[in-house]
Amino acid sequence: MESSQAGEMMLQYDVVVVGGGNAALCAAIEAAEAGARVVILESAPEHMRGGNSRHTRNFRCMHHGPLSVLTDTYGEDEYYDDLMRVTKGQTDPTLARLAIRNSEACLPWMERHGVIFQGSLSGTLSLDRTNAFFLGGGKALVNAYYACAEDLGVTIRYNAEVAHVDLGDGRFHGVTLADGEQIEGRAVVLASGGFQADLDWLARAWGPGAENFLIRGTPYNRGTVLRNVLDQGAQSVGDPTQCHCVAIDGRAPKFDGGIVTRLDCVPYALVVNRDAARFYDEGEDVWPKRYAIWGRLVAAQPDQIAYAITDQKAQGLFMPPVFSPVKADTLGGLAQALGLSGDALEKTVADYNAACREGDFTPGVLDGLATSGLEPPKTNWARPLDTPPYYGYMLRPGVTFTYLGLKVSERAQVQGAHGPLPNVWAAGEVMAGSILGQGYLAGFGMTIGTVFGRIAGQEAASHAG
């Protein structure tokens, strides 16, 4: 696999895969199975390998009839409609349908390559038809793919941060690592993720408020490769301010807090900002459908912070948070503990309580128990906040991944200033902006990564062969 030229080590591969997450691994496995000599350049150390894929948990999959752990049927049109609802039409229909149609064949492929699925997790029953969960989560999937790639003879390099991709004359020649090492290849698959861990880049897109954002996933997705190839004329797609951004626990670590930092209490809470004022309908829809908009809502508030307030009645209605909430016997006491104005919070709650109506409260389904005459309204699950103790949960925007990415063709080929780059492909978050213009659909990131990772790997191997 390694050849020595003119006294210095010059590594040459058929396919260079930049990145080490799901899309990169799918590409590497496909290319290696096609007979290519493949290297994976993972910028993280081994224990952090896998990019954001190590935090994922499921794969959204079209299927006709029960498939593996998935029940019933989830057809192309329903899947597409679900996607269009969250992206509000901001999507490339051809690529989106391609991802959806290919997902059905991907699930058995994933199983053949070591991924084990389990039925939907407790607390996620609404997903057992649409999303296949990985046994052990995304890191177990990543482990399975690394083992598979090793068995196929793929060279795996950790701590191998790519600083420069040589696209001279409009085609790929090789990469230069951060330490100066050069690696040559006949083709490249760029699967290096988004740029969300580069806080300066986020700040350029969002303004200084981005300093208060938390990054839910790997600190290694700094967008170095994305920036490098964009600077060399690769075409971009997507809006730099768009990302999968959810409201998470404000006490989460700056990076890598992952799934456990999410807060599911919003539908059963009142959410107030720094000034103890409400700003959005907490009961607009069931949480899985509103999960992905609250990050942006909180980001728009002063200091990018909000507080979800519940009373004793709401305890047990949502997934337990990883950090214990702030608890107090009075609203004034809670406000003090959270650093809010007690008078303002008491007034907000009093106004809300006065707007609550009699009616049946039914958690988990739209129960229509709405406030009347309140602005903004709470349109479901609106019960008075009156039973101490009271609980407070601090919310911050948590960025999962950014959508600004590389424009690709249906064969995952990267587009340059003068047409497609002949030996450059991209897969995963780095090109997901082609499909996700805004919003997010649970499990769809892994669908994009798997479908386009496999296509990119096949195409790159075919080109190199």
């Binding site: 224990h47 084990i116 046994l135 052990g136 177990a140 992952g258 990883v322 214990s324």
Partner: protein, 352 residues
């Protein structure tokens, strides 16, 4: 690291709270569904879950929060430490448990003491004649040594289990719980990884069924050897059919394959243990655990050697060595890793 944690329960509760917010590992074993169903974490629940854990390590290698992540999740280790603490706390006397659980050299000393006692007894108490082994050690002398060495430790263990059962609030045993326990033990379901892929032991992040198979050989080999002794006792007292038994007899047909299985199983377990990461178990008792596996290996290997040596001059020495090993094993039962089977069975039986 964890062995000096002032309060293991607090550390387990901290880790459980993170697990409860994640739930990715729900499909690996019985621990997680039971954890997620708890209304609140108590010390008794933590003890119960710790004893339910089979240390398959699937949850560690799948964990995005494993060290060096700042959440520092190492559930297999904290549960192993907590189990260990449970076993030592409920043992009577606790001091013996603390010594033999942790220290392989103490187990070896007990083994040597067992050899010495048997050599001494055989030298001093000349058998009044008899066939087979009884030519060297009379049946009555054997019973005088082994009956108390078998019954007393088991009685002590029964008291320990009773206090454990009360602590965890095990509840009433039903047919359903017996069936659940029996099925789980017979198939070692909690080492299957949930989907039959096995656990993460000797190959790190890769799954393997090697440990499950080795444990099955050990468990079933032990059960067959125990059954061989039991059936021989029954034949001796019930039917007047005394040892030595021919090959085509129940004690030999159970004992010989059982001994081979036990030998292979414990040998494999010892080899696997050398390759696995000690930091994902109760690292401070590694030596005691290894010594216990080797003690079981010695029991089975010397038993087979004794059978192979039938009719040779090696029999008296091998007999003393084998019986010495069996004696050490029996006496140490409440104070070694042997208790894990009893506590885990109880955990599988407990009210879910």
């Amino acid at each position: 690291m964890l062995d000096n944690t002032p309060n293991l329960n607090d550390e387990a509760a901290r880790q459980f709270q993170i697990c409860n917010s994640c739930r990715y590992c729900e499909g690996y074993c019985d621990v997680f569904p039971q954890l997620f169903a708890l209304p609140e974490m108590t010390a008794a629940s933590a003890t119960h879950l710790a004893n339910l854990c089979h240390n398959c390590r699937g949850c560690y290698y799948a964990c995005q929060y494993a060290p060096p992540h700042e959440f520092d999740l190492n559930l297999p280790a904290v549960l192993a430490e907590l189990r260990q603490e449970t076993w030592e706390r409920h043992a009577r006397p606790q001091a013996l448990a603390r010594v033999f659980h942790a220290r392989g050299v103490a187990v070896a000393a007990a083994l040597i003491a067992g050899f010495a006692l048997l050599f001494f007894v055989m030298a001093r108490l000349q058998s009044e004649g008899g066939e087979g082994f009884y030519a060297y050690l009379s049946h009555n002398a054997m019973v005088a040594i082994f009956a108390p060495a078998f019954v007393l430790p088991l009685a002590g263990l029964a008291l320990s289990l009773r206090s454990y059962w009360r602590e965890i609030g095990g509840g009433r045993i039903t047919w359903a719980s017996l069936r659940h326990m029996g099925g789980s033990v017979a198939r070692m379901k909690n080492l299957s990884g949930g989907a039959g892929q096995g656990c993460n032991f000797e190959q790190g992040a890769r799954y393997s069924n090697a440990r499950r198979h080795a444990h099955q050989a050990t468990l079933w080999g032990f059960v067959m050897c125990f059954a061989a002794t039991s059936v021989a006792t029954l034949m001796h007292y019930g039917f007047g059919w005394e040892a030595p038994y021919p090959f085509w007899s129940p004690p030999k047909l159970l004992g010989v394959p059982g001994g081979i299985l036990l030998c292979m199983g414990t040998g494999a377990l010892a080899w696997l243990k050398l390759r696995a990461d000690p930091e994902l178990g109760a690292a401070r008792v590694w030596g005691g655990e290894m010594a216990f596996v080797l003690l079981l290996f010695t029991v089975s290997a010397t038993g087979l050697a004794l059978y192979a040596a039938t009719g040779t001059s090696a029999v008296p020495a091998l007999l003393a060595i084998h019986l010495g090993a069996v004696l050490a094993f029996f006496v140490l039962t409440p104070y070694t890793k042997m208790v894990h089977g009893f506590y885990r069975t109880a955990a599988l039986l407990a009210r879910r």
